[in-house]
Symmetry: C2
Subunit: 333 residues, 2 copies
């Protein structure tokens, strides 16, 4: 009994991933999608999005992600969709030829961009999510301020993340529309070609953004799955059963390999997750289907982003068989 892969292991079904990328590219071809790499943190997967999906611009959440994407030859048009107070590492990338645009929502972040050597910005607008972003009616003033500091203002961005918590599709559409009205108000004050917004569960509801920042659609998770049925599950956590008792079994991975903010993972093939602790997942197998010590089980993580961030490697499968190991090379900050 020699395990093929050391567990716990994140397994990626590359056939599903490529199908997801094709599905999204059919709806949002080329520059209509600016894939967000924060969900997978893997430049090899970003290259699938570039090669199979035809997308050249990408969205990042951290300075480290921007650096890693540029180093992987994907620096044509990188948006750091987040506020940064020390932009010197970004400026160094611009100096070396990458195109880097950073979000700004205050005088301080505008000063940081200019001082750090970044040349292009988007004004980040609060469209209803309690997070970053200026008031829509303040966006024009900030754009003027940025231009006065010599920055090129490409347009606006605003993440309707509060819509992603709305399960009902028509209600979600209404939340998206309201959010995008706020973004349109800001865009009229700011100008520029770019209106950047969106996510995997709003990409086909958002009619105003010029580009959509979806990221989860590549791998998916059990939380977004029902809200984005066009995309298949491409990511699994594989575990080994290490202990079996009368009422439950225990597998060898837990809180250190699973983001838990959206709840416990879902067992592939049925059964019930009972407890997730640091290194263990205790579960009840499906009735009539006992498991044995040494069996492999797979679970679908509830939230892809904080799950992947725990892992150094993705175990890539092709046609159900191990094919490659890809580094999660964009971790850290």
């Amino acid at each position: 009994m020699v395990p093929a892969v050391q567990t716990p292991a994140l397994v990626v079904d590359l056939d599903v991933v490529e199908a997801n990328v094709r599905t999204m590219a059919a709806a949002l071809p080329g520059d209509r999608l600016r894939p967000h790499v924060k969900a997978h943190k893997c430049t090899r997967l970003a290259w699938v999005q570039r090669r199979v999906g035809g997308h050249r611009g990408f969205t990042c959440a951290t300075v480290r992600e921007v650096e890693g994407m540029a180093a992987a030859g994907l620096g044509d048009d990188l948006l750091l969709a987040n506020e940064v107070l020390d932009c010197r590492r970004l400026g160094a990338l611009v100096e070396r030829g990458a195109r880097v645009t950073v979000a700004v929502d205050s005088e301080e972040t505008i000063a940081a961009a200019a001082d750090g050597g970044v040349r292009e910005v988007l004004v980040d607008v609060n469209v209803g999510l309690p997070r970053c972003g200026c008031r829509p009616d303040d966006a024009g003033r900030l754009a003027d301020r940025a231009r006065a500091r010599g920055l090129s203002v490409r347009g606006v961005m605003g993440y309707e993340g509060h819509a992603t918590a709305v399960a009902d599709r028509s209600e979600r559409a209404a939340v998206v529309e309201s959010a995008m009205e706020r973004l349109a108000t800001a865009h009229a004050l700011v100008g520029g070609d770019v209106v950047s917004a969106g996510s995997t569960v709003t990409y086909d509801l958002n009619r105003r953004a010029t580009e959509i920042q979806a990221g989860s659609y590549v791998l998916m998770d059990s939380y977004f799955g029902p809200m984005a049925p066009a995309f298949g599950q491409g990511l699994f956590l594989e575990l080994t059963v290490i202990s079996v008792s009368r009422r439950y079994a225990v597998a060898d991975g837990g809180l250190k390999c699973l983001g838990m903010d959206h709840g416990p993972p879902v067992l592939v093939g049925g059964g019930e997750v009972l407890v997730v602790s640091d290194e263990h997942l205790t579960f009840a197998p499906p009735p009539g289907e006992p498991v044995r010590v040494g069996d492999r089980v797979r679970v679908i993580p509830a939230h892809v982003d904080p799950t992947v961030a725990y892992h150094a490697v993705l175990h890539v499968e092709r046609a159900g068989a191990p094919a490659d190991r890809w580094a999660v090379d964009l971790r850290g900050w």
Copy 2:
């Protein structure tokens, strides 16, 4: 404005850590404590436990932790308090001179230990937590089986983790006592010198274990804090405020640098955590104490183990000033 430390950053107060190690060593000197390294995953911190606390044996949760501890010169007596189905990496460590004991709770795990070249085991007993461990009345049979496979059975272990969820101290003591009765039953059947159990919030309630496996006491978190008041908070997540609006502020770290299974972190200095998302922490500052963009804030994680597992580095402070950077070198599997 040049930040001292790139945020998000885990900061360790080494003065508090050393005081915690001294406090625990006064209660459980030398081999009475077998510190669990899974909470901090850092061999430099394990060396503090060895040097300041005088403990020579350690507890690990993963094969990787055992390997890293042996490589760091801390291989005198390592217990992998977990079931493993491929013990060849452990056997290789034994071959090179480390002392490695592994937990077994089934015929399969006994076979894996023997086949992999491990020579010493503890019989892991279920003492009430729904996880690994055999029934107490089955422990003798498993010990015989292990001895028949040529393994040395050092004794028993049983983790009373269900007691750590009981906030009231006297109720917790009763749960511990009941669990240790089960372990004593098993020990009578198994024999051996070792009865290993315990945690940071039961170390002074457990009167039967020969050694206690506490780990959280070194760094602590907001969940165990009220239950183990002898130990100070030695770990903080430092963040930078990147956006401020009328009702809240936003700092630059979230679900990818904080274990969230025990809830959101606690703000040092007051205020309320409102939302934790992938890369952001939205909070209400304390009334009358507005924050500004660029300010640093610190939070106390709710669960130390899955928080540390997100980080590659601990930023060590001495007397409130940056002193060193220690690798979290025991991550992964």
